[in-house]
């Protein structure tokens, strides 16, 4: 296979592709790219380009010669010939020969591109209006990749960065020297996934699956865009591929999986009182016992006791607050950056039930997580999320686009029942362009954006949503 490919590619290349490197640096030309395929495509491109230039030089040369010498003002008298079959046959055969010569390496490269043999890594790429979703099929890793350029940059309110419109929040991380297969499909309309440096461009079509592949040879960041008109924000769904060494890739997969697992712990797992107590005791001994003493009696005069203290048996919220945020002016630290939400929930539960405190209350990790989400933070984050996920349709000012996307100012959904509002964001609205955001946004982000929508643009409903409400949201609880 390999040798034949080389024969097929033939001698036509080589010499012709030499002067092209200069072009690439000016940003005038197709990138040479970082795969064997992209280099083949590049040399095909340069070959056909020079062939075209040669044809043009000859044709226009003859034409200009004629225009100059056979003009009436120079006294040219017109000849009378108007047919010469031999000449016509010759000038037909030459282009045919050139084209046949071009067809051979073209077919060879095309066949190579279509090599369907098995790959080491399969990535499913799904086009959405207007973002990409990447599923690493063998790794159970999956995420959305959104444009990360700010709206202010787009609307010229701030400086445009180096990678303006070609930057995303999460890169498609891939190992080098590994055959990677892309399985492309779409969620709504046809998109097309293109990375020039990989010479991969393939349409993503709803209901159908397409495939393409690549072997990246050089670590680096390669940027591309959607190339099939897919609606309003077609220009705002870039592709960013980050090629890393195999080791770094393995490490990246491990990290992203650990993050996912931590998240799942928080949101997914239901903690029983016993589990929290067991975990809590560990945490207590590690983080609290030095001051509050293992028996919870503290060191009188220096560190208060927890046994039967107003904090530990009183209002849960106050208890959570002091653990999360500490108590200014005292030795009580803020633990929010030191302990995970699970650990804090466990230790608070432990403190409220150990040493005869026996309140019987279990604090869930979600309650802890909610703590850090006060109204201000919800609104700040909500505005960011809104800009990223909602403003494209509903517009930054919430007015929507009449006839296409409903406005959010003063409408029933944002002013009315908060449950219905959460539900439409979490689960989408069937038969409309409103997507289900549960897989695209975190519970925190959804809580923030719902809160934002209910309080921005003069809506001022005044209520807010906690992430835990969203995390446990089930379409059924309407």
């Amino acid at each position: 296979m390999e040798t034949r490919k080389n024969i097929l590619r033939g001698s036509l290349f080589g010499a012709l592709t030499m002067p092209s490197a200069a072009f690439a640096e000016w940003g005038l030309n197709m990138p040479v790219g970082v795969t064997e395929i992209s280099r083949s495509v590049f040399s095909l491109h340069m070959t056909i380009f020079w062939v075209c230039v040669a044809i043009a030089v000859v044709v226009f040369g003859v034409m200009f010669y004629s225009m100059f010498h056979h003009r009436k003002s120079r006294g040219a008298k017109s000849a009378h010939f108007h047919e010469n079959t031999t000449v016509e046959v010759i000038w037909t055969i030459i282009p045919v020969a050139i084209l046949v010569a071009m067809a051979v390496p073209s077919a060879a490269t095309l066949i190579e591109m279509y090599d369907p043999s098995d790959a080491e890594i399969d990535v499913q790429i799904t086009g959405y209006q207007w973002k990409w979703k990447y599923d690493y099929l063998d790794e159970e890793v999956s995420f959305f990749s959104n444009l990360s350029t700010s709206r202010d940059a787009i609307y010229n309110a701030e400086q445009k960065g180096e990678n303006y419109l070609l930057e995303v929040d999460k890169h498609l991380v891939l190992p080098v020297d590994t055959k990677i297969r892309f399985l492309l499909t779409a969620n709504d309309v046809i998109h097309s996934w293109w990375v020039p440096d990989l010479a991969v461009k393939k349409d993503a079509i709803p209901g159908f699956i397409n495939e393409s592949w690549t072997i990246i040879e050089k670590p680096g960041i390669y940027r591309g865009q959607c190339t099939e008109l897919c609606g309003k924000d077609h220009g705002y769904m870039p592709v960013v591929v980050e090629a890393v060494s195999k080791e770094d890739y393995a490490a990246w997969v491990a990290t992203i999986k650990a993050e996912a697992a931590a998240k799942a712990d928080l949101a997914g797992k239901t903690w029983t009182l016993d589990e929290l107590m067991t975990e809590g005791e560990q945490v207590y001994l590690k983080a609290c016992a030095a001051c509050h003493m293992p028996n919870g009696e503290g060191l009188p005069g220096a560190f208060p006791a927890l046994k039967n203290s107003p904090i530990a048996v009183g209002d849960v919220a106050a208890h959570i607050d002091i653990v999360v945020n500490g108590k200014p002016g005292t030795a009580m630290q803020a633990y929010k950056d030191q302990l995970s939400a699970v650990e804090m929930a466990a230790v608070i539960t432990y403190e409220r039930n150990a040493w005869g405190n026996n309140t019987g209350e279990a604090v869930t990790p979600n309650q802890i997580a909610d703590m850090s989400w006060d109204m201000d933070r919800l609104m700040t984050v909500g505005e960011e999320v809104y800009g990223k996920a909602c403003a494209a349709c509903h517009q930054p000012n919430g007015q929507g686009i009449p006839g296409a996307f409903p406005g959010l100012v003063g409408t029933d959904i944002v002013m009315g029942d908060i449950g219905a509002h959460i539900d439409i964001v979490v689960n989408g609205k069937a038969g409309s362009a409103m997507q289900a955001f549960k897989d695209q946004l975190s519970p925190e982000e959804i809580a923030a954006v719902v809160t934002y929508e209910r309080n921005a643009w003069g809506n001022n409903v005044g209520d807010s949503v906690k992430p835990s409400t969203v995390a446990s949201w089930n379409g059924g609880e309407k």
Binding site: P116, S117, D118, Q124, L137, N210, G475
Partner: protein, 192 residues
């Protein structure tokens, strides 16, 4: 013959041509489908496989078959292949299933549309029993197992050693209701 008569005849022919070409536009739909089924163009596969099981099982090679599930639009179901990857010998009968759950509070109807990649492999992936193109209703909160039995045609060329079969799940609840409303007027209220 007079020019007027000539013209009339000519115009009649040209109008006929126009009508035929208009019809041809529509005829391209079935032609295309037949063409797709023969060539596997676009990874389309036959609606319901009624293929015979081949007698020979080629033990010398295996083909990797990967199943993936895709959701269209805001389709909220959970829908997963029971096992994502199979290594099968060509000719070997393999049974699998997709598990679908409707987590919403509404009764819904879905339809799974299959697609095979690479498209030339479509004609070699034979499905004996499949839920493709079937309408799958699921009550709120219900789960169903959607079984399929397939085998790889032993004729499959050597260079095809890895096949992907995707199912895209479409929410057709609304269409289904419209269809039902049209089909019987017996005051059948929607369960929504």
């Amino acid at each position: 013959m007079s020019v007027a008569a000539d013209t009339k005849k000519l115009v009649a022919r040209l109008v006929l041509g126009t009508v035929l070409m208009f019809g041809f536009g529509f005829a391209m739909v079935p032609i295309y489908n037949v063409f797709c089924e023969i060539t596997g163009l676009n990874g389309k596969i036959t609606r319901t496989g009624e293929s015979e099981q081949p007698l020979v099982v080629n033990q010398d090679r295996t083909v990797k078959v990967r199943f993936i599930s895709v959701f269209n639009e805001e389709m909220p179901w959970e829908f997963e292949p029971m096992q994502k990857v199979y290594q099968v010998n060509p000719g070997q009968m393999q049974q699998t299933a997709f598990v679908a759950t409707n987590p919403t509070a509404n009764n819904m109807v879905a339809q799974a549309i299959p697609s095979v990649s690479p498209s030339e492999a479509a004609q070699y992936l034979q499905k004996v029993n499949c839920f493709c193109f079937d309408r799958q209703p699921l009550d709120a909160g219900a789960t169903a197992e959607m079984p399929m039995v397939f085998f790889i045609d032993p004729e499959i060329p050597e260079h095809l050693d890895s096949i992907t079969l995707s199912y895209t799940l479409f929410d057709i609840t609304d269409q289904q209701q419209v269809a039902e409303a049209k089909n019987d007027n017996n005051d059948k209220r929607s369960t929504l």
